[in-house]
């Protein structure tokens, strides 16, 4: 039940194109240990700007 809820949450965030903060932190820990890591709020802003900042964001059908 808990796992289903977590999955639903992840799907909902993916539908909004918000990225996965946990995956980002894991990536930074694995590959760039010691480098500065964005906070959750910074990550959110970064993803928001990335989603609507290019030519590939039009959706219609």
């Amino acid at each position: 039940m808990k796992r289903a809820l977590v999955l639903m949450r992840r799907i909902a965030r993916a539908m909004l194109g918000l990225g996965d903060y946990e995956a980002y932190c894991r990536h930074m820990a694995d590959h760039h240990a010691g480098a500065p890591v964005m906070t959750r709020a910074q990550f959110f802003r970064n993803r928001q700007d990335a989603r609507y900042g290019g030519a590939g964001t039009g959706k219609c059908c």
């Binding site: 999955l7 949450r9 993916a14 539908m15 996965d20 609507y52 039009g58 059908c61």
Partner: protein
């Protein structure tokens, strides 16, 4: 046999249901037949055809590093669980298109639309989405324009980019037109949609400054606000003070939308676009799920006949015969070129392994076709008389129930003025006559289904406005996001000639390009709104032609890639749908330009208007000489646009054939894939 037995049974059951639909006549064809037939065909197609393409044609290789693995950065390139990625991809491709096309196509009956959606998606639409995803996935997640440039040369790439921009303009105009059709003279509807602006601003500020990134809780607050707006909208509409303020004519609404598009697309994204996108995404997924559950539980009978007399091409909703016009009227849902942009957007950068590609690329498109089938059901369960009263131009059915009932009954769909007035009253609108564009019709169908589930007839008006709000909301999001995307494309295009115009080179180019983009779609929107035939009649076919041509371009790219992979013996997988789309779009394009029937051909219509002008007469619904001149100019521009699209697709075809011959002459594969041996980029 044990393994295939159940699948064979399912295939036979699905085809049996389809055959049954084709021969069943009379009153009591249940909508579930249609849904069952479609779903079983989709499942079988996925199990056999998608996996055949994956393993035999493309040779997908689960061990080969995807862009998400090779270039992993935790941000744009992230290996994502396939169920989660399916949600992302589906939410990105599912928009207003699959809800509108099938509703318009219902004028020919439910059968032609159903067959085209089922066979179109299996053999063309899902193949296109999957192939483009595959191609982009093997090339670091490059976009469609870059892929065409890479595999077919610079010229082809530029032409494709230009074509894409023009399609974007038409899409935005036609989507905005649907909003105008749904909200004009509807204070309740306009109030609820207008209320989303302050709501979204509040949500934007909340997620930016109060609790950054907490989209879940803020979306719940937003949804509560939305429902409150629908509930209070009824009183606002009835209020002597507020009612008139929110009652706008189509032309006024058109200018409001153009102004809105210009302002919204230069605001920071976090303020208005992003939060409204959250609301519209949740509303969209929720409404689609509710519609599926509603149809399954209520099992409504289809009241539209399987085939109507309008198959021959004399229908009031859109002009033209079954071939080729059905195949461009239902674009999204069967095959949509626009998806090629999504499949080469964020999704290929998030895919964890090549093994996930069939489920994401092919599977999500099947899901979209399922949405299209539900839209077709929604339009087919309402009284056909009401359907034609709602979707015929005012020039044909007039504007009051008495005239509309006479005109629609004369079409062969008996309906009384009382029925038409009663439906309008039930959904809380002054009139439902001549509200073409799909959204209002689908809203009536959804209100019918939902009110059976919750609240009964008393809730119909609420559900109608809920459905209108849900469609208007994501169309507005698309207008806003599309204007931004169009602006970037335009900057890229102009940047080819004038490098200082490229994105990121100052505010002036981006403002200029935003202005150009809004002016371009605004022009076609205004033309559509003032069109005496209702606009949808003219613009939707142009949209369909352009969208299907983009699909043809994407499928030509896919064919070139198959030839370059030395897999040409399997290239029929893409050549077949390419050929069909070329036949449909080229004949539709030529007919729209040159057909002698003034209802179909732009030039024939222009000739008729010109002749009347020369005689000094007014024609049909035009009320002044200025309007006559306007009609003449519109016809010529629309004909020019069709010619332009034909030129784009013809030139890409030449480049594609050339690339295929080059690939055959070469003695080894000549694809531009990222080699599988390349070490991950760090």
């Amino acid at each position: 046999m044990k393994q295939h037995g159940p699948w064979i049974a399912l295939a036979l059951a699905g085809l049996g249901a389809l055959a049954n639909l084709a021969v069943m006549r009379g009153e009591n064809v249940n909508a579930l037949w249609l849904v069952f037939a479609a779903v079983s065909c989709f499942l079988v197609a996925y199990r056999y055809y998608a996996l055949y393409i994956a393993h035999v044609v493309l040779g997908i290789d689960g061990t080969r590093p995807t862009p998400a693995v090779r270039r992993a950065d935790g941000l744009d390139y992230v290996a994502t669980d396939r169920v989660v990625l399916f949600g992302h991809h589906f939410a990105a491709i599912a928009g207003a298109g699959p809800l509108v096309g099938p509703v318009l196509a219902a004028q020919m009956g439910y059968l032609p639309g159903t067959l085209w959606i089922v066979f179109g998606v299996v053999l063309a639409g899902a193949v296109q989405d999957f192939m483009v995803l595959f191609i982009s996935m093997r090339r670091d997640g490059k976009s469609l324009g870059e892929l065409v440039r890479l595999e077919m040369g610079n010229a082809a790439g530029t032409i494709a980019l230009f074509g894409t921009f023009m399609i974007m303009v038409i899409v935005l105009a036609v989507l905005a037109l649907i909003v105008v059709k749904a909200l004009a003279e509807s204070p309740w509807g306009l109030f609820t949609v207008a209320a989303t602006v302050p709501l979204a601003l509040f949500m934007g500020l909340y997620t930016r400054f109060v609790r950054p990134g907490r989209v879940g809780e803020v979306s719940i607050l937003g949804l509560i606000g939305l429902f409150a707006a629908i509930v209070y909208g009824q009183q606002i509409a009835a209020s002597p003070v507020w009612g008139p303020i929110f009652t706008l004519t189509p032309v006024q609404l058109c200018w409001v939308l153009i102004g809105y598009g210009a302002v919204a697309s230069v605001l920071p994204v976090w303020l208005l676009l992003a939060p409204r996108d959250y609301l519209s995404t949740f509303l969209k997924i929720g409404a689609i799920a509710a519609l599926a559950v509603g149809i399954a539980i209520t099992a409504p009978p289809l009241r539209m006949p399987a085939l109507t007399a309008f198959v021959a091409g004399n229908g009031p909703v859109w002009a033209g015969g079954l071939f080729p016009f059905l195949f461009i009227t239902i674009a999204c849902g069967a095959v949509s070129g626009f998806h090629a942009l999504i499949s080469s957007g964020t999704t290929p950068k998030l895919i964890a392994t090549e093994d996930d590609a069939p489920m994401i690329g092919y599977g999500a498109m099947l899901m979209e076709a399922f949405v299209a089938i539900m839209a077709l059901v929604g339009a087919s369960i309402i009284d056909p008389g009401v359907y034609f009263a709602m979707n015929s131009p005012a020039a044909v059915v007039g504007t009051d129930p008495a005239h509309a009932a006479v005109a629609v009954s004369a079409m062969g769909f008996a309906v009384t003025p009382d029925t038409i007035a009663h439906v309008a009253r039930e959904v809380g609108e002054k009139t439902i006559i001549s509200r073409a564009g799909g959204a209002p019709t689908l809203a009536v169908g959804m209100a019918e289904i939902f009110s059976h589930l919750f609240g009964g007839a008393a809730m119909k008006a609420f559900w109608y406005h809920f459905a209108i709000l849900f469609e208007a909301l994501f169309i507005l999001t698309a207008v806003d996001a599309g204007t931004r995307a169009g602006r970037f494309m335009l900057q890229d295009l102009i940047g080819l000639a004038v490098p200082s115009f490229r994105a990121g080179k100052g505010a002036l180019p981006s403002l200029v390009c935003t202005g150009l983009c809004v002016a371009a779609w605004g022009f076609f929107l205004y033309q559509g709104v003032t069109d005496p035939m209702g606009g949808v009649n003219t613009l939707w076919p142009v949209f369909g032609i352009s969208n299907q041509m983009l699909a043809a371009v994407a499928l030509m790219l896919s064919s070139v890639v198959l030839f370059r992979m030395k897999q040409q013996r399997h290239a029929w997988v893409t050549l077949l749908p390419t050929a069909w789309l070329l036949i449909c779009t080229v004949s539709a394009g030529v007919l729209k330009i040159a057909s002698a029937d003034p209802r179909v051909g732009f030039l024939a219509h222009a000739g008729k208007v010109k002749a009347a002008l020369d005689r000094g007469e007014l024609l049909g619904p035009a009320k002044s000489m200025a309007q006559m001149h306007q009609m003449l100019v519109n016809d010529r521009i629309d004909a020019g646009l069709c010619a332009l699209f034909l030129a784009v697709v013809a030139s890409v075809l030449v480049f594609a054939i050339r690339a295929c011959f080059q690939a055959v002459a070469f003695d080894r594969p000549s694809v531009h894939e990222i080699p599988d041996t390349l070490v991950p980029a760090e």
